[in-house]
Amino acid sequence: MALRTEELILNMGPQHPSTHGVLRMVVTLEGENVVDVQPDIGYLHSSVEKMMEYRTYIQSISLADRGMDYLAALANEMALLRAVETLGKIETPTRAQWLRTMFLEFQRIASHLVWLGTWGIDIGATTVFLWCFREREKVIDLFEKSTGGRLHYVYFRPGGVYEDIPDGWLQQALAFCDDFEQRLVEYDELLTANPIFEVRTKGIGVLPRATATNLGASGPVARASGVAFDVRKAFPYEKYAEVEFDIPVREEGDCFARYMVRMEEMRQSVRIVRQCVEKLPPGEIRAKVPITLRLPKGEVYTRTESPRGDLGVYLVSDGGETPYRVKIRAPAFSNLFALSEMMRGWKVADVIAILGSIDIVLADVDR
């Protein structure tokens, strides 16, 4: 006769060191097994979409930094500006496009490093956190030298970038690339072959390919489940069509696959940065665009690949100085749908490992 157990409803968050912000999860447990997970969001809803309706396009950039995915501020700027520039038919100079591509890839490295560090803490490896933040500080130094900001840059502007890079910046960037490739080998030694790490991640939280596509997952989460889709390849923007890089795809769909995909993405980002440094032409960095930019009447939907996935912006303009409506399709929000699918049936200790592996940023979820 089987022992009858009652279901237990466990509340995780919003204050929990491993929820990466203020996510609340209502976990239904039977014994130690997870029966169901209901994420409760909205604890960081900052109403940026509404605020952008009262801001000019340039003012909206600083909001996109803060109100959306704050780990990848430049990716948000790019997403917003791609919509603005597509609707306004604004041409950016070649040098600005190369600079943007390079900065976006640095941003991807910085964002993935925060993810790796915090996920390391979640599953009990504090060393990873300290190592990742050591490398991240170097990226942030590069950003600070050219943009002046550590976290929120407001560097991309309609028609280009705000300022050219200072002298000697490219050498520092290349030095970082050399250093970082060796650091990635160190991370590999620390984690990839680590038996404890394997036990915590291999085969855990499997997301089948069909479920991933049905739920609208994108980015590394979908690519770890075998969906070979990347906006940078499928709908290239800026100079992504002119650089060589691979899209890492894994078939397993578990936490370890998501880890491997992101590690490989960082390597590919270094590869793209090197090509950008090599091909960076001299010239103008910003097209002549009026400060009070008025877009023609119309609507546009553009998509970019943020470190979390497919980041889309739907922009409606009525011809005024401010957008009529901005809708942001946030990748972290869509990836969150897969959460309960991934967690069902696993132990309560795996909840944290799975949640960390989808790289959630609550500002991106709630906006």
Binding site: L44, S46, M51, E53, R150
Partner: protein, 200 residues
């Protein structure tokens, strides 16, 4: 709907404490303070004891690891290797029961305000609050045209130190913690607990 926060007295301590309950748990220390204070030269002894205790309290501030938004990333950076908050005794704890400092890092929404309040209430006395960044201080860039962000965390919990910036650099957070340490070192906290008047 968020609960209406109770009014907080200007000294920033928890309101509405049940005195009878309190004296039953901490009375021996408080009574000792009263006795020593009444002795000739007793206040000198008390000041010395307080000085030593305050030095210890200020040098081992344990904040709650509770990040709200972007400032939490800078808070993490301040805790990581380069800036290393551990050097000045700041060590992040996962539960409010073990924390004596809450760093409100980032914008607080109306939805999370009651939770921040509850976390603060769960922390044992004496407790301190650092408001990190413009959003936590006054709403920051989310002040105008916004329906969801709280216009300053000090409408919910009493704040000891405000750190400006959007987000503040880790060095700025350092400055905030050092300012808080200065404040703690001046506190006559034994006598305040016992309800004894402090010498001018």
């Amino acid at each position: 709907m968020p609960e209406t926060p109770e009014t907080v007295p200007p000294n920033g301590r928890a309101p509405g404490r049940d005195q009878s309950l309190r004296s039953s748990t901490v009375a021996p220390v408080d009574r000792l303070v009263e006795v020593v204070d009444a002795l000739p030269g007793g206040s000198v002894i008390l000041t010395t004891v307080e000085h030593v205790l305050n030095w210890g309290r200020a040098s081992s501030l344990w904040p709650l690891s509770f990040g709200l938004a972007c400032c939490a990333i800078e808070m993490m950076a301040a805790g990581a290797g380069r800036f290393d908050l551990d050097r000045i005794g700041v060590f992040f704890r996962g539960t409010p029961r073990q924390a004596d400092l809450i760093i409100v890092a980032g914008r607080a929404t109306i939805k999370i305000a009651p939770i921040v309040r509850r976390l603060w209430e769960q922390m044992p006395e004496p407790k301190y609050v650092i408001s990190m960044g413009s959003c936590a201080t006054c709403g920051g860039p989310f002040y105008y045209d916004n329906y969801s962000i709280l216009k300053g965390i000090d409408t919910v919990i009493p704040v000891d130190v405000y750190v400006p910036g959007c987000p503040p650099r880790p060095e700025a957070l350092y400055e905030g913690v050092l300012k808080l340490q200065e404040k703690i070192k001046k506190e006559p906290f034994l006598r305040r607990r016992a309800g004894v008047a402090t010498p001018a």
